[in-house]
Symmetry: C2
Subunit: 332 residues, 2 copies
């Protein structure tokens, strides 16, 4: 477990400054206090004095890796804790499965463990707990998912509409006219949202909507293998992917088939995973600021705990242009 | 100007407790501190110690009354100040006009007055400053309005989709099949959003969409006078209004014409203005929690000031059922 010394060493300040930051003393700057508190969370420092209050939250995670900084969930959890722990909350991270949900109702799980509220990452619309969320009384924030008409539930996410609109605008400016989509099946809120965002963006820029340009498949590499040649055979010159992992599998697939990126086909991911800067070629993608998502998750939860019926927070999407997109190839 | 005594008297606590609350002492409860700080803002108490830092924000208001608690803007401003002032911000309220915007660029106005960020209420899409917002660098939050692709601008509002969906569900359950809309012209973001929400809700509940059921007019009472008889002549039995003020003018108009509410026509407003509980009959309407909107406005601004590119916060809408809605009249 990290100590005050570790925080002081990392920031290059004295132990007494760190102590002031941790105990909300007023004779250091707000900026320094913020850095100290955020570093304390990052290093896993536990403030015993605050912990005694027993204010407990949990982050429930399914279908998402988070254990190392290069994994998608890592920074979301970090951002959440950077907001929550300085306010005296103990935050537990609990991986869950569908079987676990079937065995234990959400409300029971929360009460048994003394959690006052939760932030939930990675549930699909088909998950057993989704039904319980329609009427549950526990303040609950869902990442990339939504529940209607329950004032105890809020959503946070990144603006898919804005993201795909930026991507299609970029591709249209490069002369692409037939733009495809490869995505997972439409069983999750976010995949539905991205699917609609893709259609709306094509419509907005006057591009052809055609079901032959779309491939939806559950298994990442299998569906890439199937849909890349299919879409190209229909004249598609650029493909949007619902997630970076799918775009990255497409890079491998194109390499195997001697399809050049971006000369033969441009590809665009979604998420900006750390590794996308290091693929060959580096991936053009839509960035979600994951630390900010975590911070907003905590804010939404604070609102619900204070009876402010927030429904959703959307972060802006930004397009990170790298080398996987280029001018449309001449029509053959 | 309010004093510590005033706050103590209002809350029924001692002066020293109030002083502790105002100065962030740790030997009172969080709950008590919150009540003290919120009451201080409500009574207009100025904390000189905090004000010295000169952290200045402004709320810019156009087309919206806010001077007394029964006015629409009052609680939005109150909620914003309840969040901002305890953090040491000085908040100025500045009414603006289109002519003022033409004379003074937004950036110049903000710099001349030393404002670090602003919360803006009531601008339409046609307002001169809207162009400047596309590229401005000043953290700016718009209520019920939106600007694309600028990470320095965020939006807060109430979920129109959810609101009209609740209203149409309620009316459909009462047997209404022809539901109309009376609204202002589609020159503002929010009126466009409500128009689309109306269409989507009809579509969702399988009800007829017909342009003869829709009346869009700039002047409130004139357009009510024109559209109420027109919509009724087409068999409409229930009407949604884009704002309570229009619904209230419809109550007067129906009274003048001996049209009974809800026996002949059901009407639903949007906003839940204080007076809607006291009209004859009391108005069924969609509630926006205005204090919460103000609080979210400040949070969105805090995010932007901390370089978290929040795009939008939507509050949940709730349907307040009063006596202006009832079973659909039998088809004549």
């Amino acid at each position: 477990m990290a100590t005050i010394n570790d925080i002081a060493a990392k920031l290059g300040v004295s132990k007494s400054t760190v102590s002031k930051g941790l105990n909300n003393a007023t004779d250091i700057s707000d900026e320094m206090r913020k850095r100290i508190l955020e570093t304390a969370v990052e290093l896993g420092y536990v403030n015993k004095r605050l912990q005694k209050k027993e204010k407990k939250l949990c982050i429930l995670v399914e279908n998402m890796d988070f254990d190392t900084p290069n994994k998608f969930g890592h920074d979301i959890i970090l951002g959440f804790k950077q907001m929550a722990e300085p306010e005296g909350w103990v935050v537990d991270i609990v991986p869950i499965t569908i079987d676990f949900q079937k065995l234990t109702p959400y409300g029971v799980f929360m009460m048994q463990n003394g959690y006052q509220a939760s932030f939930i990452l990675g549930l699909s619309l088909l998950d057993p707990w989704m039904k319980e969320f329609r009427s549950c009384k526990i303040p609950t924030v869902l990442y990339d998912n939504t529940v209607k008409e329950n004032p105890n539930i809020a959503s946070v996410g990144c603006d898919s509409e804005e993201g795909f609109e930026l991507a299609v605008k970029h591709l249209a400016s490069l002369g692409h006219k037939k733009i495809g989509l490869i995505s997972g099946p439409l069983e999750s809120y976010i995949l539905k949202a991205r699917y609609n965002a893709y259609l709306n963006a094509l419509y907005k820029f006057g591009l052809e909507v055609n079901e032959d340009y779309i491939g939806l498949g559950y298994y990442v590499s299998e569906s890439t293998k199937e849909y890349i040649p299919k879409l190209l055979s229909h004249g598609v010159t650029a493909i949007l992917f619902s997630h970076d992992v799918r775009a990255i599998s497409a890079i491998t697939e194109c390499d195997d088939r001697n399809i050049r990126i971006p000369e033969d086909v441009s590809i665009v991911g979604f998420d900006d995973l750390p590794m996308t800067a290091y693929t060959t070629p580096p991936l053009t993608t839509i960035k979600q600021d994951r630390t900010a998502l975590g911070k907003c998750g905590f804010y939404a939860l604070s609102c619900l705990l204070n009876k402010v019926a927030i429904g959703s927070i959307l972060l802006r999407a930004t397009l990170i242009v790298r080398d996987s997109t280029g001018p449309a190839p001449p029509v053959s």
